[in-house]
Amino acid sequence: MSQERKEAVQRLGITLLVLLAGVLLLPYVGSARAAINWELFGDAYTPDLSVSDNIGAPGSQFAFTGSGYQPNRLAIIFVNGQVVGGVTTDGNGTGRFIIDTTGVPDGELTVVMETDANVSAFKTITVDSAEAVVAPPGGFSGPILGTTGSSTFLPFVQR
């Protein structure tokens, strides 16, 4: 191979290395791509409370995730108006907890997660003996909070 050709190959190789350097970082960067819409940032302004299942038999454990709260703040958890515990949100303003319905009679439970009057969200779940017992999804972690579910009259939310 002539000297010129050798140099040409070298230069081409270095050029390709520079061009592909970013691609080599793929394992460290990942390739998660999400649509960029207002819902992506809606939580920045509005707290939201979601639950793994809406209905289950007494003894079920319902997994709740609150998002869009202030980061690193204590949120109070209410079930039908009664304080059942608290959870501290993480650096992203997300808090997770589990409501244990062991011994709770059939009916609706309104669960509220609140840091202050303006940052509050609720979700209603149904305890029904005719349904199967539900459990938190695998890998879900959070404090387990018990409730009697019968301390106040129901429901908070009318349908």
């Binding site: 970013g22 960067v29 207002w38 809606g42 202050d116 609720f122």
Partner: protein, 508 residues
């Protein structure tokens, strides 16, 4: 035979037309038109949500925006809104962002020309900027970010122009742009260290001339006049005012913008001070990594290596200009990495612009490196092919992520609320509902009987007191009732909000 005068005119017109076409700067035209067309195809068709709805409503109704006030956006947005581009004001203001993005790219073209980057490689570098997911997404909705990048590109370009011929007037232009840009986004202060570095290292003797100081001072004063928009609008008592607070009686108390202290409070964004440098040291690494991943995605991986090469080459070739760009990049990256807000991903666009300049220089360096090879024709075309191919790939990959052309959701939510709520209702909600409802009321004249309050503007305790005092007098709707409200009232779902109805027997 004498030709008819009209025929003569026609031939002359045609040749003048061709002459004009031949003189047209096709490369610059392409850099402006192609992305603008892309943004037009994917533009949000009407009012968009969150901040976008707030900006559009404030511009259209001569209102006031929350901190930092954004007087320049209110002013130039108003002028743009007069253009008869659509009957839908939301669409018009979305198109404004697309236009400003194209202006940013056009100025990027002129910056890269000065840095001797060849046309296809300029198009490749700026094309990746244009199609970077967040740059593209922010070009499709009413927002302040693309005005910010347009002004930033103008500041860099005018500083470069000043070094060609360092006259006081030429220095006054970037100073004026920087001052007026403060009226659009306070993050303009992040450009100051780089600009000061560039001026001091390029022409330090200039600062000894009184004419320079006089021109600079005049430019600052002229630029600051944009802040007069705030007291002027305040004086007109706008219906849409996000600079103030409601009390427990539902009375709005605007911040007094006729006073310097009020304007200062608004424009310095003191209400957001808690979020600035809001991370502990131990929390920082994930934020840095997230930014790195975002930059990687923005430039489709392929732009990372040449971008870094461009940074090194440019800094070695022209350390003054290299310092300007590096300082702007670092100031913006460090500030926003440390800014604890969920939507900060939308705020990195200034760093993208700098990266695109480095990318263009890096591409050019590779092209020079490949010159004079055994087969001189192949490699340069290979590089151009890679640069342009990356842009086409970015368009294909990112289109579905950013396309808002069928997104009517914000209008639909707001119209549903106004269609469902009863006469003389009070509606309380957050950014995802209230600004869009106010847009329909103030801009399109729908349901003036309904009172809407953004919960951002009322303390929690005052809101509860207001609701409980009016619960028996008027229909009240809210997006997320607090525990205290749920103890006094039941919540009945009505569209995306709840109607509160007093309980016959309050809960204990």
């Amino acid at each position: 035979m004498t030709p008819l005068p009209s025929f003569v005119r026609s031939v002359e017109n045609r040749s003048a037309w061709w002459l004009r076409l031949a003189r047209l700067d096709w490369q610059a035209t392409a850099v402006f038109i192609l992305p603008f067309f892309l943004y037009w195809l994917t533009l949000a068709p009407t009012i968009y949500n969150l901040d976008s709805a707030e900006f559009t409503t404030a511009v259209a109704s001569n209102g006031l925006i929350r901190a930092t006030g954004y007087p320049l956006y209110l002013l130039v947005g108003k002028v743009w809104s007069w253009l008869p581009l659509s009957s839908d004001m939301g669409y018009r203001m979305n198109l404004f962002s697309a236009f400003l993005s194209a202006v940013t790219l056009l100025q990027g073209e002129y910056i890269l020309r000065r840095l001797k980057v060849e046309p296809w490689l300029r198009l490749g570098a700026l094309g990746l900027l244009a199609t970077a997911p967040y740059f593209w997404a922010m070009s499709l909705i009413a927002e302040v970010y693309t005005l910010h990048t347009a002004l930033m590109a103008g500041i860099i370009l005018s500083l470069l122009r000043w070094t060609d011929e360092p006259t006081p007037l030429r220095l006054a232009l970037p100073i004026f742009l920087m001052t007026i840009s403060l009226g659009n986004h306070m993050a303009t202060v992040l450009l100051v260290p780089g600009a000061v570095w560039f001026v001091l290292t390029s022409q330090p003797d200039q600062l000894k001339k009184w004419r320079v100081w006089a021109a600079a001072g005049t430019a600052v004063l002229l630029g600051l006049t944009v802040f007069l928009v705030l007291p002027l609008r305040y004086a007109s008592q706008p219906l849409f005012n996000y600079a103030g607070e409601y009390d427990a009686a539902g009375v709005f108390h605007p911040v007094n913008l006729m006073r310097f202290s009020g304007v200062w409070w608004l424009i310095t964004g003191q209400s957001f001070a808690g979020q600035m440098f809001g991370y502990q040291l131990s929390e920082l690494w994930p934020q840095v990594a997230a930014y790195g991943a975002q930059l990687w995605t923005a430039f489709l991986a392929i732009g990372i290596g040449p971008g870094l090469l461009g940074l090194v080459v440019l800094t070695r070739r022209n350390w003054r200009l290299g310092g300007l760009l590096l300082l702007i990049f670092l100031a913006n990256a460090i500030f926003y990495i440390n800014y604890r807000v969920v939507d900060k991903d939308t705020m990195y666009l200034p760093t993208y612009l700098i990266w695109a300049i480095w990318l263009g220089v890096g591409y050019q360096q590779l092209a020079l490196w490949l010159q004079n090879l055994v087969q001189p024709q192949l490699p340069p075309w290979l590089l151009r092919g890679v640069a342009i191919g990356a842009v086409l790939l970015a368009v294909a990959l990112n289109w579905s992520l950013v396309d808002r052309s069928a997104d009517w959701s914000t209008r639909e939510i707001a119209e549903t609320i106004l269609a469902e709520v009863e006469p003389n209702a009070l509606v309380l909600g957050w950014w995802d509902t209230v600004p869009a409802v106010q847009y329909l009321q103030l801009v399109e004249g729908q349901r003036p009987d309904v009172q809407t309050i953004n919960r951002f503007l009322i303390p929690g305790a005052a809101m509860e007191e207001l609701i409980l005092s009016q619960l028996d007098e008027r229909p009240i709707y809210i997006n997320n009732p607090s525990m205290a409200l749920l103890q006094q009232a039941t919540a009945v779902p009505v569209g995306p909000v709840y109607k509160l109805e007093r309980r016959l027997v309050p809960l204990p």
